[in-house]
């Protein structure tokens, strides 16, 4: 184990190098470019021993990794924004095909108009593709999430997307601890697929399915997505035990326990929100920040368990759920709490779109505005 200070994209590349990837295909796009460049560099120096393929588009990148995954390879790709949208068709193919592909999506605003900066609209537009989605708030989480993603993906045969904010995390430098290759090897043994495309095995992949079969496959994917919640919890514990390093929970709470006000968010702003909670507590409002690590499947039980009866939940999203007041996390939180007996007031707002800088004071203003709405 050693402590390093690198960019978020380098942290991701180092984890990809350690995870024993057999096949990677990518097409460059800002702010993902330095990640695929870094891995290409590892491939050029011989440190990356898998096959690295530079394809002509993101659609091809996802098609290539899905196909490689179907023959049994451990695969990786990365993209951002328009690139992710261009992959959309094959994202469904990868999840429907139960292919444990892992992808890093460096969050960036989608056009129009053109914008290069952090915004979650790209990831959340893929919410219903059947991919599992992890979000990161620092470089340690980016590094660790790569191993967690493969661990879970290969157990449930569902692809995983790791999202982290463009520039704010991808190009900033923050310290993180690497894990020894031997420990990773133990956590992540070689992939052992139940079936793979191979001339000696035979079989047809993704043949025509009639309604009954198709519906059975889809229900199975939905059930297994929900079941993956427990696999995430167990895999995080296993990683903690192997590395001896505490991992954030699926929803990590910081600040006051039994607070009156809870601040839920994901991505880089979830880190700054810890400071907002401290600031609110100084103002006499007992506050706690909740950092969401896993967006799909949504850890509803965790949220319900953390929130005390009668508390207020403020949800800030770096995206918009068009047609619904607020962002997707606001929607998820309200949906999760509906079945609970606890009486919790939930308010939400969309902030930081297109990379609007979310300083403590900007976030505090929005939180105070929503608290005023709650009072009214």
């Amino acid at each position: 184990m050693s402590k390093r200070i690198e960019t978020g994209n380098t942290a991701c590349a180092l984890a990809v190098l350690a995870a024993g990837i057999d096949y990677m295909a990518a097409y460059p796009i800002t702010p993902q470019t330095t990640l695929s460049e870094k891995i290409a560099n590892f491939a050029a120096t011989g440190e990356f021993t898998g096959k690295y393929v530079l394809v002509e588009s993101e659609h091809s990148a996802m098609s290539a990794v899905a196909a490689a995954s179907a023959v049994g390879a451990r695969t990786f790709t990365a993209t951002s924004s328009q690139g992710l949208l261009h992959m959309h068709e094959i994202l469904h193919y990868a999840s429907g095909g139960r292919l444990p592909v892992v992808m890093a999506n460096i969050n960036r605003a989608v056009l129009a108009p053109w914008c290069l900066y952090a915004d979650h609209q790209d990831s959340i537009s893929q919410r219903d593709t059947g991919w599992l989605q992890l979000f990161c708030s620092n470089h340690q989480e980016i590094y660790d999430s790569v191993f967690l993603a493969y661990k879970v993906a290969e157990k449930v045969d569902i692809p995983v997307m790791i999202s982290y904010d463009g520039f704010l995390l991808s190009h900033s430098l923050l310290p993180f601890e690497t894990v020894d290759d031997s420990v990773i090897k133990q956590y992540l043994p070689d992939r052992d697929p139940a079936w793979r495309l191979h001339p000696d095995i035979g079989g047809n992949f993704s043949n025509v399915a009639m309604a009954a079969e198709y519906s059975a496959y889809r229900h199975r994917l939905a059930d297994d997505t929900l079941k993956s919640l427990q696999i995430f919890r167990d895999s995080i514990k296993e990683y903690e035990n192997l590395t001896g390093r505490k991992q954030p929970d699926l929803i990590e709470a910081s600040g006051t326990e039994n607070a009156n006000v809870y601040l839920l968010s994901m991505g880089s702003m979830a880190s700054e929100m810890e400071l907002v909670a401290t600031e609110l507590t100084k103002q006499g409002i007992n506050a706690s920040a909740l950092k969401l690590r896993l967006y799909r499947p949504f850890p509803s039980d965790e949220l319900v368990n953390i929130l005390p009866d009668g508390s207020t939940l403020i949800v800030l999203d770096r995206n918009i759920a068009y047609g619904h007041p607020g962002g997707v996390l606001y929607m998820e939180a309200r949906s999760a709490l509906y079945e609970s007996d606890k009486k919790i007031r939930v308010l939400g707002g969309s902030v930081g779109l297109g990379g609007v800088d979310l300083t403590v004071s900007v976030l505090l203003n929005e939180v105070n505005r929503l608290l005023e709405v709650a009072k009214a």
Binding site: R98, A194, I231
Partner: protein, 89 residues
Amino acid sequence: MNTNEKKEILQPVSMPVEGVAGFTSAWRSQWPKLDSEKCNGCLLCWIFCPETLISREDRSIDLRYCKGCAVCARECPVNAIEMIREGEE
């Protein structure tokens, strides 16, 4: 899930099974008749048959699944295959 546990196949995978869609000979209005005297063994019929019914060894045709498409007769360079009306010899 431990490593000894046999993993269930979750992928949409199908294995080729003979006659999975029933005997497709019922679709036919004419059947291919091979004249082994004329046949030069070029195997073009074996390559082109969309139902892979023609044997590579003896060019016998599995008529249980032949849909009568006549691709083999069309492709044969020496006209060794003739299409005969169903019910006739």
